[in-house]
């Protein structure tokens, strides 16, 4: 079972072509039925795409999107998470929490090896958490600083003791948050400049083989993997394809079997839904729950007036955005907390699409329209990560103009965008931010006044409400889930009233893959699973 030989059209391609012409019978229902519960088949190469090309494949040193996609097959962490964000065993086969809710004890799998053959032990866990990620990763640093003591009573047991109970602690032991790194390679070295970064060593089912820059990355089965008989795939090849149309062509002609994240633009998705040999899956983003919003700089008048922000929220039709711009991939936001993140309050509702209410609010705020019908002008920095974001900004300009707000679009590239947002040198822009499973981990940072910093992914808008600070602190410091839910529900209500950022939609990125691939999207982290049980039927 290899990738399609593109020298001659395969039978499947001919059928796909005929199906497109409306002539072929729907053969795949039989195959689909047979695929439900067939025994795993060993062998085969998974060819997929990685774009843009990551700079380096070592997690921790680099945490960008493409690195997470590829390196999650090389490295692993103690746990993995289901779509409902329940922790499942990975490198830790079981774990317990002490009575005072401050000590976590993990029992490790007993036949784990690194790709260079050395055994994986509790020392590696302690090194990864207390030294490696503590130094390199901002998110991990914030959480792991709470660990008062880390000890290894025996080589297969790790105990972390926190200075106070912290309910979302387990969510950090996911490969994209804190992957396990080999102590014998990194301890005592300069982590960022260690030459071993060019040949990543992990405990995952696939080991690094070669990387031809600009061309492809090749991973091969690690024969000493701790689950006997797995992984089923022989190799995974990540092709670097920079142009979005080339990627769509590659998927269509079968040159690649899987695409993920932003490889395929939303406007191409309907075409792939029609293709009989492919599955379009939008699940698998529950752990990240990316939420997009219009980011407003509260230092710019009149954006500091909450009536103006509420008006903007009323002026936008979120259903239109999801259906017409994202072609049904994703859903409208209803709260600053995504519906797939813990402690989401299902009673939350954002301002309805009501241009008349918008104009009334703007009148009440004292912003009258001039002779051309414009109440005020505000600049807007377009998010430079793909065509669809430009379309979104254009749609916003049209709908806001109808209530008298003139949006002036500015374009930049990724570097300039990050710099300007970080420096607060913007009026409005679009942003999307991951929630990481729990509002304390991914939501709090945008709204608490203590996190107003000059760097992206903090409270760059400058919103400050002491009541919100109190609610988030209460939710963070109590170990009782009921109390946390109460605090988060109150915070959601207050935030929806204040609407410091204008939430748009809960994003989902389509994972499109050949129907012969099994078990691709099963976890809450979707495409970032280690793929040890994926096989080609």
């Amino acid at each position: 079972m290899t990738i399609f030989n593109h020298r001659q059209p395969s039978r499947r391609e001919v059928l796909a072509g005929l199906a497109a012409a409306g002539l072929a019978p729907n053969l795949l229902t039989l195959a689909e039925a047979a695929a439900q519960g067939i025994a795993p088949k060993r062998g085969g190469t998974l060819t997929t795409i990685l774009s843009p090309e990551p700079p380096i494949l070592v997690l921790g040193v680099n945490n960008q999107g493409p690195t997470l996609v590829c390196a999650s097959k090389i490295y692993q962490s103690l746990l993995k998470f289901s779509p409902k964000l329940e922790p499942l065993p990975q490198l830790a086969k079981s774990w317990t929490l002490s009575e005072d809710k401050r000590s976590y004890t993990f029992h490790l799998q007993d036949n784990d090896k690194w790709h260079d053959g050395k055994p994986f032990t509790a020392d590696d866990v302690i090194f990864s958490v207390m030294k490696f990620h503590m130094e390199l990763a901002p998110r991990a640093r914030g959480i792991f600083a709470k660990i008062k003591e880390a000890s290894a009573p025996d080589p297969l047991t790790v105990v972390f003791t926190l200075d106070a109970p912290f309910e979302p602690f387990l969510l950090m032991f996911e490969v994209t948050a804190a992957a396990m790194m080999p102590k014998h390679i990194y301890d005592g070295t300069d982590f960022r400049n260690n030459p071993a970064n060019q040949k990543p060593i992990g405990t995952g089912p696939f080991q690094f083989v070669e990387w031809q820059r600009g061309n492809f990355i090749r991973l091969a089965r690690f024969e000493g993997y701790w689950k006997p008989g797995q992984p089923y795939l022989d190799e995974i090849i990540y092709r670097i394809v920079p142009d979005s149309q080339s990627r769509a062509l590659a998927l269509q002609t079968g040159q690649v079997l899987l695409t993920q994240a932003s490889d395929i633009e939303p406007f191409d998705v309907p075409r792939f839904r029609e293709q009989a040999n492919l599955t379009v899956e939008t699940k698998g983003w529950e752990y990240f729950s990316p939420l997009s919003w219009i980011e407003t700089n509260h230092r710019v008048k009149p954006l500091d007036d909450k009536r103006v922000r509420q008006a903007i929220s009323h002026a936008i039709d979120r259903d239109f955005i999801v259906q017409r711009l994202w072609f049904g991939v994703g859903k409208p936001a209803t709260s600053p907390i995504a519906s797939t993140t813990r402690f989401y309050d299902p009673a939350s509702k954002l301002q309805a699409h009501d241009p008349r209410a918008a104009t009334q609010l703007l009148d009440a705020a004292g912003l009258k329209p001039n002779a051309q019908g414009v109440r005020f002008t505000v600049k807007h920095l377009v998010l430079p990560y793909g065509e669809v974001w430009s379309r979104l900004s254009e749609y916003l300009r049209t709908s806001l103009r109808q209530v008298g707000i003139e949006l002036v679009l500015e374009s930049t590239d990724a570097g300039a965008w990050a710099r300007r947002v970080g420096d607060w040198d913007y009026e409005t822009t679009i942003n999307f931010v991951y929630q990481y499973g729990d509002p304390t981990l991914g939501v709090e940072r945008t709204y608490v006044s203590t996190n107003i910093q000059k760097v992206t992914f903090t409270n760059t808008g400058g919103y400050a409400n002491p009541e919100i600070d109190k609610l988030f602190t209460a939710a963070r410091t109590t170990a009782d889930p009921t109390a946390r839910q109460a605090a988060f529900s109150a915070a959601q209500k207050l935030l929806i009233e204040d609407i410091p950022q204008i939430w748009l939609l809960e994003l989902a990125f389509p994972t499109i893959y050949d129907k012969r691939l099994q078990h691709v999207i099963e976890l809450g982290t979707g495409i970032h699973a280690c793929f040890d049980d994926v096989f080609l039927a």
Binding site: I3, H6, Q8, P9, E13, T45, T47, P52, E53, P55, I56, N62, N63, Q64, G65, A137, P138, R139, R141, R192, N193, N197, Q198, Q212, R213, G214, N215, R218, I237, R239, I240, V241, P242, D243, Q245, S246, L249, A250, T253, Q255, T412, D413, A414, G415, A416, W417, A418, R419, R420, V421, G422, V433, Y434, R445, Q453, K454, V455, T456, F457, T458
Partner: protein
């Protein structure tokens, strides 16, 4: 040209070339740093989470916390001693990154170059020989078409026809991955991947060479020595090749010299459409990521190549046409 004159000419030119390249380095350095954003903020913006310490750490590691003139001095003194610096983002030396991607680009642009000259001169000669006939009109219109059409559109259309509809050629990449090929099989495999990108890049220049050749040949064909050759009774083919074409080639050489200077830098669009792992994309990605050292390294290579080919073209003139003195 006498030996001593040539030596003096070369010495003068080399000194000027070095000064020009140095000036280019300094200007590029200042230009790149003038763009908003730096490698640290790019990394922060793509990492999903960041704090002030993270950015400060990165800036310190990349040497960005030093004053600009100090960074410039460090860079230039490195270049002069042959050290192009390190790409902090990819953790490898700039020299190794460039050398790794250079052969792919040279293969692509070299193939396009050879194809363009061969086909362009041939078509231009055909058109000039049969001036005024249907063949001439056809070739001229075709040349106009390839000249006016944007490269990326040509590329996408070629992919659509030959890859998607006919399925004769692959749509992207440089070679088949996952199979070990040797000798003839490897050459054939590589050739199949090279055809579409080389065609895309070359067709534009084919048009240019065709028109240049045609115009030059028509002009030369009017001159006296051609009439003399005909009067002598020389065969038409020999007149065409030895007398007309050779003298018409000067303008072709001029343009070929310019195109040769673009051998490294001019293929980024084609490399993007065809996922060809070349220098153009390396530079573009470096620009987006504000990878200063890498970008400057690529600029350096390009400028060196351009001034070198400038020199070669001048020397070539003097060799082709003894009436021209290279000064």
């Amino acid at each position: 040209m006498g030996g001593r004159k040539l030596a003096r000419f070369l010495a003068q030119r080399i000194v000027k070339m070095v000064l020009v390249v140095l000036a280019i380095i300094v200007v590029n350095f200042l230009l790149i740093h003038a763009a908003p954003g730096d490698p640290a903020s790019v990394i922060a913006g793509q990492s999903g989470a960041a704090d002030a310490k993270f950015i400060a750490q990165l800036r310190q590691q990349f040497g960005l916390d030093r004053p600009l003139y100090e960074q410039l001095w460090i860079y230039v003194s490195g270049v002069v001693t042959g050290d192009l610096g390190i790409s902090h983002r990819q953790q490898r030396t700039v020299a190794s990154l460039i050398l790794e991607r250079l052969p792919a680009t040279l293969l692509l642009t070299g193939a396009a170059f050879a194809f363009a000259i061969a086909s362009g001169v041939t078509l231009g000669a055909m058109a000039a020989r049969r001036v005024g006939t249907l063949t001439d009109s056809l070739i001229t219109v075709l040349a106009l078409g390839f000249y006016a059409t944007p490269i990326f559109w040509v590329g996408l259309m070629l992919v659509l026809v030959f890859s998607v509809w006919l399925n004769w050629l692959p749509s992207f990449g440089m070679a088949t991955i996952g199979v070990e090929l040797h000798g003839m099989a490897a050459l054939v495999d590589g050739a199949r991947y090279l055809i579409l990108p080389a065609l895309t890049l070359g067709l534009f220049y084919t048009a240019v060479y065709a028109r240049l050749t045609r115009a030059s040949m028509l002009e030369v064909a009017m001159l006296d020595f051609v009439k003399t050759a005909r009067a002598k009774g020389a065969p038409e083919g020999r007149i065409l090749r030895r007398h007309i074409l050779r003298n018409a080639l000067l303008s072709v050489v001029t343009f070929a010299g310019i195109q040769a200077g673009q051998l490294i830098g001019g293929s980024i669009l084609v490399e993007t459409v065809f996922a060809w792992p070349g220098i153009g994309r390396l530079a573009f990605d470096a620009l987006l990521a504000r990878d200063y050292q890498l970008l400057l390294g690529v600029f350096l290579c390009t400028s060196v190549l351009v001034v070198l080919f400038n020199l070669v073209t001048d020397l070539l003139y003097a060799w082709i046409d003894p009436r021209v003195e290279a000064t």
